[in-house]
Symmetry: C2
């Protein structure tokens, strides 16, 4: 498929950040051209001086093209638990509501529930997710069938799977297709034994691989780790060698000076999940401190059991709004920084060098933002409009790997959304979920 | 116009709160019938045993009808300043950016900028607004032409208008049409002299009228009031007799025990504006304390200069999310409480007894929520889905006073949205706003 977008505003997210008026061309899965249209010749030259045959030409009517959002921490199949187990503290929520239901989930359930999440990612302009959940084979199948880019991260813990199975997954789920990867990780310090953490460190060394995990989400988690090991989770992981090849943490709310030092020394990425942290009363992450220290921040929605939606617009507003509140400074953490977190830094966390910006040669993972909506007017400052005023309603089109998967409210993922809804409601009924 | 909605789920917001499966009938501006359809006869009886001739019959396909949201504090025409003066502390923001631009605004500018806001309210399912801004005649004209229900509140302060003009507005802008009212109010303690506050109290007594004002938005505002008068703004207003006939405050973030006592004694309403309070680093309102004290809370977006959007879904999530964070308790301020704030209590603040719920005889101010969207699935608990996961994208239809003003992304307000955008961008250009 060759697609030509014309009459567009384009926010490539390449530095220095500016908005171009022009065209963007997609050939197969990649971006062939981005520019004002005066220098198209060089693309024709690459094409043997032949004109490109367009399968589709889209008049953007002055709307904005930008890189798709990267959701850098989620548990997609927890769509099942949306509005099920709310209004409870994190530990009770996990132990009394989440874990017992998860124990009854079958691989096929997770496949359908993941597809439900994909529909929602597309409505929010999310073109790539960093996933951590049970049954990674079923998850990769669901994502791949839909056309969703995904980096799965192992959530191994003392309840399973075995270390052999983790390695098996790492070896077999990477390289399956161009949309999917599988990364090393574990659930959290409080669900792993010291031996397991040591084994994960050894595997990180064996494969020279980055490692991600839930880290410093609650004050209690940090306190209990200190009681067990005398140090914070971040320092513990670093001492065990888990972070020797990079990676990072999800949440990273309750951080001390030593933790920031480890993040800097190991080039780690902090993935913030502000809606989940509010709703579970976990706290507000020190975003401006990360910025000051030069530690990259990416943004995740967390799973829909805790959030309860998969909406990058809400997360972006929360990142800046909560930073301003926390710092008592309305100038903290500006809109461009937040846009960078939601796009470029998310791709970095997932290890995707060719999905960061709208550059020629990069993957065509992009969205069209409808500027002909009242919340995007007037047009003083489009990046600020997106971060401070944007909503899912502004997503007119979502393209992943060169394919349009969502356009004007219609999904093109190979399955009828109503069929997915029916499957998911049936799972909910079978497990007798009521809230 | 007579409109029949069928095949609907209906959340009337009447106590006890439950969801009915059935029909809702609108005759002219009012609701004729709400029910499961088995007791329609009594409506025919009222109609002289004649069947009702429907102008439109809408198959809701199982989607949800509920009362429209009431935005209980806004400055609509500040759409002009969206993404213009961000990232500044409140006092600088007001004095250096907002006031100088406002001084150049003409009545016609405010008319067009208010219409831009109406478009956005409709996309968010907002069917009534409690407005405070300059040029109330132009505002009433804009709202009335669009079909938007509005309660304007005077924002008088030491810079104007005169007390005579306030009284003139109060007398002439009430009773103009069934969509509009005008209430007594003033900007804030810090922009009014003591004499002016006394005059407003006298006018409240003359008309036995409730009074609304910005109150305790920032810690600085409260401190400076205490330096001037030895008491908090709430206590000062109460001592002056301003609250003798009710009313309430906007923001109400920094409150002490005495303030809560005044709110209880005078039956005042606290209007919370969480997005604005975060973005200007003002603080987090004590929502659960209001609930404990039995003080009704309503929700406002504040103006789009500080927020920067007019989105009741974002506000609802923030009300509960921030309360949970502030209380360190994930069970604080549940979804049903928040829905009540966003509908029933907003109508109460504006003095509209016939817009609170979807009851027979009440005004047909209602919205349809699209449950066939992934963020509303599964259907365990619809009220929680709306508060925790809802977005503008879920608003399928907005009806005010029996008229459909927004449906499936199309506006029916008598003016082409593109024309409104053009006018507003021209104003921005004329005033040389850049951000």
């Amino acid at each position: 498929m060759n697609t030509r977008f014309y009459n567009a505003k384009i926010l490539t997210m390449e530095e220095p950040i500016k908005i171009i008026e022009g065209e963007l061309w997609v050939g197969g899965s990649a971006i062939l051209y981005v520019g004002d249209g005066t220098d198209k010749e060089r693309v024709y030259e690459k094409n043997g001086n032949q004109p490109i045959i367009w399968d589709e030409e889209i008049d953007c009517r002055g709307n904005l093209l930008m890189p798709g959002f990267k959701d850098a921490h989620t548990h997609s199949a927890m769509t099942l638990l949306r509005s099920y187990a709310d209004d409870m503290p994190l530990q009770d929520w996990l132990n009394k509501q989440v874990f017992p239901v998860e124990a009854k989930l079958e691989s096929e359930d997770i496949y359908h529930l993941t597809k439900l999440a994909v529909l929602e990612y597309l409505t929010s302009g999310i073109t790539g997710v960093m996933e951590m959940y049970l049954e990674p084979r079923a998850i990769q199948e669901a994502f791949t069938e839909c056309g969703m880019r995904n980096a799965q991260v192992s959530g191994i813990n003392k309840f399973g799977p075995s270390l052999e199975e983790l390695e098996n997954r790492y070896l077999s789920l990477n390289g399956q297709n161009e949309l999917s990867s599988f990364m090393l990780g574990f659930h959290a310090e409080y669900t792993c034994s010291k031996e397991l953490l040591q084994d994960i460190a050894a595997m990180a060394h064996k494969y020279k691989a980055p490692v991600f995990t839930h880290n410093a989400e609650t004050a209690l988690e940090v306190e209990e780790c200190k009681e067990r090991y005398g140090v914070t989770p971040t320092v513990l992981f670093d001492r065990l060698g888990i972070y020797d090849f990079g990676g990072g943490g999800y949440h990273c709310v309750h951080m001390c000076d030593d933790d920031f030092e480890v993040f800097k020394k190991r080039n780690l990425i902090a993935v913030t999940n502000p809606a989940s942290n509010l709703k579970l009363a976990s706290g507000i992450a020190p975003i401006s401190r990360y910025l000051q220290e030069g530690i990259p921040v990416a943004i995740g929605t967390d799973g829909p059991a805790s959030n309860n939606c998969l909406d990058m617009f809400r997360e972006m507003f929360l990142v800046t709004g909560l930073a301003k509140y926390r710092d008592g400074d309305a100038s903290s953490t500006n809109a461009l920084e937040v846009l960078k977190m939601a796009t470029v830094n998310g791709a970095k966390a997932m290890g995707w060098k060719d999905c960061e910006t709208l550059a020629e040669g990069s993957k065509a993972d992009l969205i069209m933002i409808d500027l002909h909506q009242p919340n995007m007017q007037p047009l003083h400052n489009i990046p600020k409009n997106i971060v401070y005023a944007g909503s899912k309603q502004n997503v007119k089109l979502t393209m992943i790997n060169g394919k349009i998967l969502y356009e004007n409210g219609n999904f093109h993922i190979g399955t009828d959304p109503e069929e997915i809804y029916e499957k998911c409601n049936a799972i909910s009924k079978r497990l007798q979920l009521e809230a």
